[in-house]
Every structure is written in C-alpha cells, then in structure tokens.
C-alpha cells in the first residue's frame, strides 16, 4: 500500500480524473473530499462490505422463494413463466 503524508487542504490525484483532498483533521477523525466522475462508485468501506454481504445472502433459488411466498401467503408460482413487471 502506498502511504502518503498530507496536510489539511492538500490533495492526492489518482489517474487523471480523481482527486482526494484532506478537508479537515480533528482528533482521530479526518474529513475527506473526493472529486470523481459520477460513474465511479464511492462508498465508505464498511458500508460497502455490508451491502455486499447483504447481496450475497439475497441470492436465491426457487425453494427460497416458495418458502417465503408461503410465509407471506403469496401462493404457488404461476406456471409457466413469469408475469411482466415493468421497473
């Protein structure tokens, strides 16, 4: 890992489109500003890990759906094939 020392208001440039700036340092908290193209996802790591874990747990097979649908009184799957759902 590259480790750099920066002062308040100093920045790091990553590639040609991402700039990370130290906005404020107070005790053990650092406020960081990030300029990046809007298509670059930015997450706090622990939140991203939580989302990822949730997604992995939400992958499902038909047996999961049947169990859940039954619990919700949603009934048996309609065969054949799906009904449309416009997002």
């Amino acid at each position: 890992m590259l480790v750099l020392t920066r002062k308040t208001n100093e920045s790091i440039v990553i590639g040609d489109q991402i700039v990370v700036t130290v906005v404020e340092v107070r005790g053990d908290q650092v406020k960081i500003g990030i300029s990046a193209p809007s298509q670059v996802p930015i997450h706090r790591r622990e939140v991203w890990e939580e989302i990822k874990k949730g997604n992995v747990r939400s992958t499902a097979k038909p047996a999961d759906m049947d169990r859940a649908a039954k619990a919700l009184g949603q009934g048996a799957p309609k065969k054949p094939g799906p009904e449309g759902n416009r997002p």
Binding site: G33, V40, V47, S58, A71
Partner: protein
C-alpha cells in the same frame, strides 16, 4: 430476448422486463444486465435475474409494500447518475434475504436498487435516511421515522 432464469428456465422477454445496472451490484459487479420477474401476480416478492449469469438471481421487493413510510432520500450525485430529477420518479426495490425460517426474512433498506423507469437504468445506492438497516426484519414492519442523517459519501463532478 431469450433469457435463462433460475425460477422459470429459458423465457422470452420483451424489452420492458430488463434493467441495466452499469455499475453492477456490490459483490456482483460483472453482472450489468438484469430482468425483473414476478413470482405470482399478486405478491410482493419478485425475482431479479441476471441476464449474463443464468444461475444468479435475487429476491427483491418494493419496500413500500412492507413499509409504507419508507423514504427514499438520495444524494444529488446518485440522482444525477440515474438521470432523475426527484426520487419520486424512481422505482425502488430492496434485496430480500430468506433464511431457513422465513419468519426471519430480512431486507436491505439501507441500500435499495433504484431504477429510473424511463431509461430502465438502475443502481444500488445508499440512502441518506437515518436508521435504515441493511438487515431489516420484513415481517416486523416498524422502521425508524425518516430523519436525515449525515450525507452518504458526497462527490462532485470533475467534468
């Protein structure tokens, strides 16, 4: 378009079933195209099926079917990514986890999949509403009143 699906085998779907998720979903970034399939016409649970991976499907639901007060408060950058003027224009789905005992099923209210119905593009984003859990019990429908918390990571455009 023919799609191989987890619940229904190969099905032929018209374009309005598809959702593009250009950033992918955390943990599944290589999957960018999905389709939404009903399980049963009247029910709240749906399938979010990867088009690229026939073995990958998620169970999702509209959170408002379970939590009528669910508030979608999005960072401006996320609205821009989705080309939305307001969260009210969006369709919203949350990931549902079904454990062995379905009475304990949970959903992720913290990071919903937000879709612009006009472009059919979506992204899984972190809402800015305080107190929403990534592990919310689905059948005990009490969620904190919507209070704005400190913003999700802010971002400004470089271009």
């Amino acid at each position: 378009m023919l799609v191989r699906t987890v619940p229904y085998g190969t099905v032929d779907l018209p374009p309005e079933f598809f959702v593009d998720i250009p950033e992918g979903l955390p943990g599944f970034e290589q999957n960018k195209k999905f389709c939404l399939l009903e399980h049963s016409p009247a029910g709240p649970l749906k399938w979010l099926q990867s088009v690229e991976d026939p073995d990958l499907a998620f169970i999702v639901a509209d959170p408002r079917d379970f939590f009528p007060g669910y508030r979608l408060d999005l960072a401006r950058a996320d609205l821009e990514i989705l080309a939305l003027d307001s969260p009210r224009q969006a369709s919203v789905l949350v990931m549902v986890h079904i454990p062995k005992d379905p009475a304990e099923m949970t959903c992720n209210l913290l990071a919903p999949l937000v879709v612009n119905p006009r472009t059919r593009r979506g992204a899984q984003v972190e809402v800015r509403t305080a107190g929403y859990s990534s592990d919310q019990s689905l059948l005990q429908g009490v969620i904190p009143a919507a209070v704005k918390r400190e913003a999700a990571p802010a971002r400004c455009r470089t271009a």
